[in-house]
């Protein structure tokens, strides 16, 4: 206190200073237990240092002790909003390593599930984005629509979020007899609700003012930081694994990779909204054409991968997800590495928020769509 007084006496001016605020681990806008050490000057953000690890659960270490089919249920719990994509990544990786070709039916169902999970994730993101900006009503509208998808999941997979549906060699169950009807009903329903999202939030002048030109992440930075998914695509970084390294039924469908070159928060927002439309298109192309066949290939009781290294990339709702398995020929992997999209996205935050206000920091963090277990693993 006395130091400040001295400064005031000396300079005849009001002394101002930088200060640091801990945002998190318990903070409403970090959506989990992430700690951001924010250096502020008044309202202006000077530096953001993410500190993660609060829910580091050592999944990679746990994977080394269990067999390949057992890894599936752990991947559910990393990025719980794209649980099915994570399952699929492991399943595809193991299938590739064993050189098993799954039936087309499996591929179709997996892709439909992927897109449903992506929709559910983007819906939740939309809810939370609205809430972070202070529009609390969006939260309930988004959850209301997400409930329909979760019901589809629950009926077919038996769980709402941690689905554990893709297994090495196929699927856990065949689809439920109601599945196709339910999905079609949902698409019909959601096509009426999605324009409402635009009316309520996207067009809103307050949202536009708050997002336009905020949180600039240039094309070069997006690649340098490895920011993938909708966040990367909003910077013009064409990083859609579905397009560049197609897997499952993605080679069979026509869809656009949503790219935006405005690089700001609004671009990231709109890319996600457009991706929801695109996901609906993909599901519509597939849902009526699910081929007949088995829902799984008969696999051995104990899966042993040949010695070697296997990598599989998939596109989750947050970006590129990778599974890297180092196998020494035993029934459990020697080393498993999950390349999670949130991890890379998080560290671009500092670059994007410099010079903006606290409120912008919240908005930018929200458009990166961070899931903390995905970062910490």
């Amino acid at each position: 206190m006395s130091e400040i007084r001295e400064v005031i006496i000396k300079t005849d001016k009001l002394a101002t200073d930088k200060y640091q605020v801990n945002m998190g681990p318990q903070h409403p806008s970090t959506h989990g237990v992430l700690r951001l050490l924010v250096t502020l000057e008044g309202e202006k953000v000077l530096n953001v240092q993410p500190h993660s690890g609060y829910i580091h659960s050592g999944i990679e270490k746990m994977c080394e002790a269990i067999s390949y089919p057992q890894i599936i249920h752990l991947t559910d719990r990393m990025d719980y909003l794209s649980a099915h994509m994570n399952n699929e990544a492991v399943a595809l990786c193991v299938e590739n390593a064993l050189q098993v070709e799954v039936p087309d039916r499996v591929k179709y169902i997996r892709t439909i599930m992927d897109e449903l999970a992506r929709l559910a994730s983007h819906q939740l993101w939309w809810c939370v984005f609205g809430m972070d900006l202070g529009a609390l009503t969006t939260f309930f509208y988004g959850l209301r629509d997400r409930e329909h998808i979760l019901d589809i999941f629950e009926e077919t997979c038996g769980a709402r979020m941690t689905v554990s549906y893709s297994t090495p060699g196929g699927l856990m169950f065949d689809i439920h007899p109601n599945f196709q009807k339910r999905v079609k009903d949902f698409i019909k329903y959601f096509r009426t609700k999605l324009p409402e999202y635009d009316k309520l939030l996207s067009g809103n002048v307050i949202l536009r003012e708050r997002t336009e030109g905020i949180g600039h992440l240039s094309y070069k930075d997006a690649i340098d930081f490895g920011v993938t998914g909708p966040s990367g695509r909003a910077s013009g970084f064409s990083c859609d694994v579905r397009k560049h390294n197609p897997y499952s039924a993605y080679p069979f469908v026509k869809f656009n990779e949503i790219l935006d070159h405005r690089c700001d928060t609004l671009a990231r927002y709109e890319v996600r909204i457009l991706e929801m439309y695109e996901s609906l298109n993909i599901i519509e192309q597939l849902i009526d054409n699910i081929p007949e066949g088995d829902y799984a290939v008969k696999m051995k009781g104990v899966l042993k991968l040949p010695e070697g290294e296997f990598y599989q990339r998939v596109e989750t709702a947050r970006g590129e997800f990778g599974v890297f398995i180092v196998s020494d020929g035993k029934k459990n992997p020697y080393r498993v590495k999950f390349r999670s999209p949130g991890f890379s996205n998080l560290f671009a935050l500092n670059n994007m928020t410099k010079g903006h206000k606290i409120a912008d920091l919240v908005a930018i963090m929200s458009t990166l769509d961070l899931i903390i277990p995905d970062i910490d693993r």
Partner: protein, 151 residues
């Protein structure tokens, strides 16, 4: 470039490195001392322009530590797996590539945190997830009698 073209190009231009065709991607193993130079070349050569590191994995091999970089070129859409081994297992040291690819900075921090691999010239080498003095859980000889239950 296709995988085969890439392999032949790499064999021609990196005589020191050992290039082979992996199951999915072209694989290149370099000596630890050449790592940084190779990284710069991989990124700056116009025909290669590997600019997007999408995965960086540290692996504890029994005799030494391995670091595996999965790198893609956004422009040419070809992918390479760059592998390097440290000399020592207990005190593994390797040059950082975080000045070449920014994202490697955080992946290297993770590798340091979980495997204890020390990266030379890294500007911010701190633990990422765990507390200081925790140990390196992804090493094969890591024991934690309280939290790990052997079955």
């Amino acid at each position: 470039m296709t995988k085969e073209e890439l392999i032949s190009y790499l064999t021609g231009n990196f005589p020191e490195a050992e290039v082979k065709s992996g199951a999915q991607y072209a694989e290149m193993t370099v000596k630890a001392s050449d790592l940084h130079e190779t990284a710069v070349q991989l990124k700056d050569t116009a025909e290669l322009s590997f600019d997007y590191v999408f995965c960086l994995t540290g692996v504890d091999y029994a005799e030494n530590m391995g670091i595996i970089y999965h790198i893609e070129s956004v422009e040419h859409r070809h992918t390479i797996v760059l592998k390097v081994r440290t000399a020592d297992r207990l005190n593994p040291v390797i040059d950082t590539v975080s000045d070449v690819w920014i994202t490697a900075k955080y992946h290297e921090r993770e590798a340091y945190d979980l495997l204890g691999i020390h990266f030379n010239n890294h500007t911010d080498l701190r633990r990422l997830f765990l507390e200081d003095g925790w140990g390196f859980p992804l090493r094969k000889d890591y024991v934690d009698e309280i939290r790990i239950v052997e079955r």
